[in-house]
Amino acid sequence: MTGPAPAPGLDEPEVVLPVSRRGARLLGAVAMRVAAFVATVLGAVLLVEVLLTLAPGDAIDLLPNGDELRVGLAAEWGLDKPLPERLVATLGRMARGDLGTSLTWRPGASVAELVADTGARSLLLLAPALLLGVALAVALGAWSARGGTRLLRLVQAVSVVPAFLAAYVLVMGINAATWALIERGAIARPDWFALPDTPSAVRTALAIGVLAVASGGLTEMHAACDAELRRLRAAPFVDAARARGAPTWPVILHNLVPPLADIAASRAAWLLGSLVVVEKLLLYSGAGAALWQACRLRDYPVAIGITLVAAIVVAGTRLVADLVRLAVDPRLRSAG
């Protein structure tokens, strides 16, 4: 037998269990993943509140005469309470679905509305970036399997550039080139010009591209996809399809779904981290930029609200990926 060794667990013979035990194991597996989801979300929210509270300075310190206003504002904003009490209050508010109001970034505005507005804009970057990353990774995996190494090296070289540098260099480069053409009269001034000042499709496309490719993201996704594709091509069921004279790609694609879901879930967490940098650099009014502002201005409710939603997205994506794998792969159901 040639090719890489099968991944442990996945290519082992299926253990046949009685139906009742299989059901219990499945329930247990789902319960564990749901518990992990809840723990991740709560942990993230509490961690952010603890870190922001322990960070030097608070929202009142940002005001010119904060010392004089401290007593009144601390009571109004709940900053006069000890940390454990604030954590309990935060969890209580979250349980009631109340994310509070912004203190300093958008004073008085509903955090739920701010998170919904900025989150929706960020989703327009995140979802396409994730899909683009997966599509590029699969395409590159297929390409490299056929021996296309030059393109692979080029992609790796481009992908390794950090997101902040990629965004900055692209903005400066596109602006300089476009301005040169405008000055020469070769083109009329585009409505998106100059980046990144004006909201436009070009700016959005740039953000999606940087998120999908930069900071080694595409290289990592490609490596993961490539490993999965190689494993699947060497799998006995693909050999069997090949021996029958049937096309192998439907079998490979079907079996690629669970690992792809896993890869995409891991990638989603990374993308959320990059989102802060990319939105900040491209002046994009999304949740990443809002989180940066909220932390800078010590706007605890906004920072916690965005963290809550981000944690739900990350942990939720992981949960969905796990559930998809449980649904698609009978061996995982048996193993729990």
């Binding site: 030097p56 005469n65 070769a186 001034r189 585009p190 000042d197 009014s285």
Partner: protein, 502 residues
């Protein structure tokens, strides 16, 4: 082929540009447009567009009536009767009346309002409306030129339920003023649109303005060059060369009441020893620190050189390593192996620098280098706004700080150097300086105030609570399309009604 492809791609997005209004950049959009709660310069500038005070500055920076028509000070200087203009209306159409002035002062003074501007009205004991267009102010102590303190913005009483105003009140993003522009809306991209107040009492040259939030300062000058902006409030020193060589941009120098300093924490050893402070001051080569970040005036005390309070008989501290060695020796330090120490303990310095201070990084690193080469161990940290206020202002947790003070026209340094001053976080104490600052505050005669503050300059210089560094030359940059530009050094837009665009 490549060029054709590029042209085609760009042409797909090409549409004619429209730029009928003046667009200016701010690092951060104003969070609250209510003069009771201003905390950033971006907010101060927007307030200048939307609101008026009883008095304002003219182009010679002398006080001149705005909403006031005239004012009469009582002989004992404890009361002032102000007659208001009767041709002013609020942007919602309601008439401007004396009750608006009374309301604004009472709202500023209302303890439950928690106004950041409360201090500006503290000198007023009572405010009473005598009739629709007359207000009587009684002062806590005699005031020789109260109009110089009546520059704060006036709010419409009818827009609030009472004098206890909240920061979160809806007024914050739907403000109503009497100023030359009205706020149209906050846009999705965090920009803010303004249009001319049609009922403003004088002609306004610019029909529209837009404040664009460009949080990354690296882009701002480029956006001006690419004609995506028409105005930059302040040009970074490193962008000056690029802009001054561009024929589509005009630079406007203006004098700000700002000065940079390195402050010592006099609340703990060894910086409570004036010899140590003076020795370290003598180790700082100020011109070398200034050179990489721009040009400006070197200072010897806590006023800008153009100030009437600047004492020109006092010279800036010279960089003199021999003098430093003598002073360190007087403080009990010895130099062993090239490093200063006392009782076997090396002199280690923590410098905290304000992260948002432009060019602070270069200055702090160069300062670190200068002090280290003179035999000190130096660590530098950069703090954001909240950390700065927490660590430096509240907890006094620093050895040296690198920062800047900016003042309005009154240049009141009492808070910084009086032992009871709210912003005296360096812990500087000198009873004689306290007395001089009290005398300056209470002086009815401007000459007495000037003399007292010049003496403050000298005493503070001698005590060396800070290394006074410089006032940077400031430049605004405008598209050449903008004409008749006159800039106010603090509020920027005070004279913007006269600006015009081709």
């Amino acid at each position: 082929m490549t060029r054709s492809w590029m042209l085609l791609t760009l042409a797909l997005f090409a549409l004619p540009a429209t730029a009928a209004n003046l667009r200016y950049a701010e690092d951060q959009a104003p969070a609250i447009v209510n003069p009771l709660f201003g905390s950033t310069m971006a907010e101060a500038r927007v307030n200048e567009l939307l609101f008026d005070g009883l008095y304002t500055d003219n182009q010679d920076l002398a006080t001149t009536p705005a909403l006031a028509a005239s004012g009469e000070l009582s002989p004992d200087k404890t009361e002032m009767t102000i007659t208001l203009r009767d041709d002013v209306t609020w942007q919602d159409g309601k008439p401007f009346v004396a009750n608006d002035v009374v309301f604004t002062i009472q709202a500023m003074q209302d303890k439950t309002t928690l106004s950041t501007e409360a201090g500006r009205a503290a000198f007023i004991k009572t405010a009473t409306a005598l009739d629709e267009h007359t207000v009587k102010l009684k002062f806590a102590r005699p005031e020789s030129r109260p109009e110089d303190k009546l520059l704060f913005k006036i709010l419409p009483a009818h827009a609030f339920a009472g004098t206890s105003v909240k920061r979160t009140d809806g007024f914050r993003n739907k403000p109503v003023g009497t100023g030359p522009w009205e706020l149209v809306k906050y846009n999705e991209d965090n920009s803010v649109s303004f249009t001319t107040n049609g009922s403003y009492r004088t002609p306004v040259g610019l029909s529209e303005m837009t404040m664009r939030e460009v949080s990354d300062k690296n882009y701002q000058a480029k956006l001006l060059l690419y004609e995506s902006l028409e105005a930059l409030v302040r040009v970074l020193p490193r962008d000056l060369a690029m802009l001054q060589n561009n024929r589509k941009v005009e630079l406007y120098p203006y004098q700000t009441n700002s000065w940079w300093y390195v402050g010592f924490n006099a609340t703990h050893a060894p910086y409570d020893d004036v010899n140590v402070r003076k020795a370290m001051s003598a180790l700082v080569d100020v011109p070398s620190l200034l050179a990489p970040v721009g040009t400006g005036d070197l200072l010897s005390g806590p006023f800008v050189k153009s100030s009437p309070y600047y004492n020109h008989d006092v010279n800036p501290v010279a960089n003199d390593e021999n003098a430093a060695e003598t002073l360190f020796a007087a403080a009990g330090y010895t130099k062993v192996g090239g490093a200063w120490s006392k009782g076997g303990k090396p002199l280690t310095v923590r410098i905290a620098a304000h992260q948002s201070l432009e060019s602070a990084q270069e200055v702090a690193i160069n300062l670190q280098s200068q002090l280290q080469s003179a035999g000190l161990t130096v660590n530098v940290e950069f703090l954001d706004d909240a950390a700065w206020k927490g660590r430096v202002w509240r907890e006094h947790d620093f050895d040296l700080i690198l920062s800047q003070w900016t003042f309005d026209r009154n240049e009141d340094v009492r808070e910084q150097f009086h032992s009871q001053g709210a912003r005296n976080f360096t812990g500087y104490k000198n009873p004689e300086v306290d007395a001089l600052l009290d005398k300056a505050r209470d002086a009815a005669d401007p000459f007495v105030r000037k003399t007292a503050l010049r003496e403050v300059h000298k005493r503070v210089h001698d005590d060396a609570p800070m290394v006074f560094l410089w006032t940077l030359d400031s430049y605004a940059a405008m598209s050449v399309k903008v004409k008749n530009v006159v800039i106010h050094p603090f509020y920027f837009f005070t004279f913007a009604t006269g600006w015009q665009m081709k």
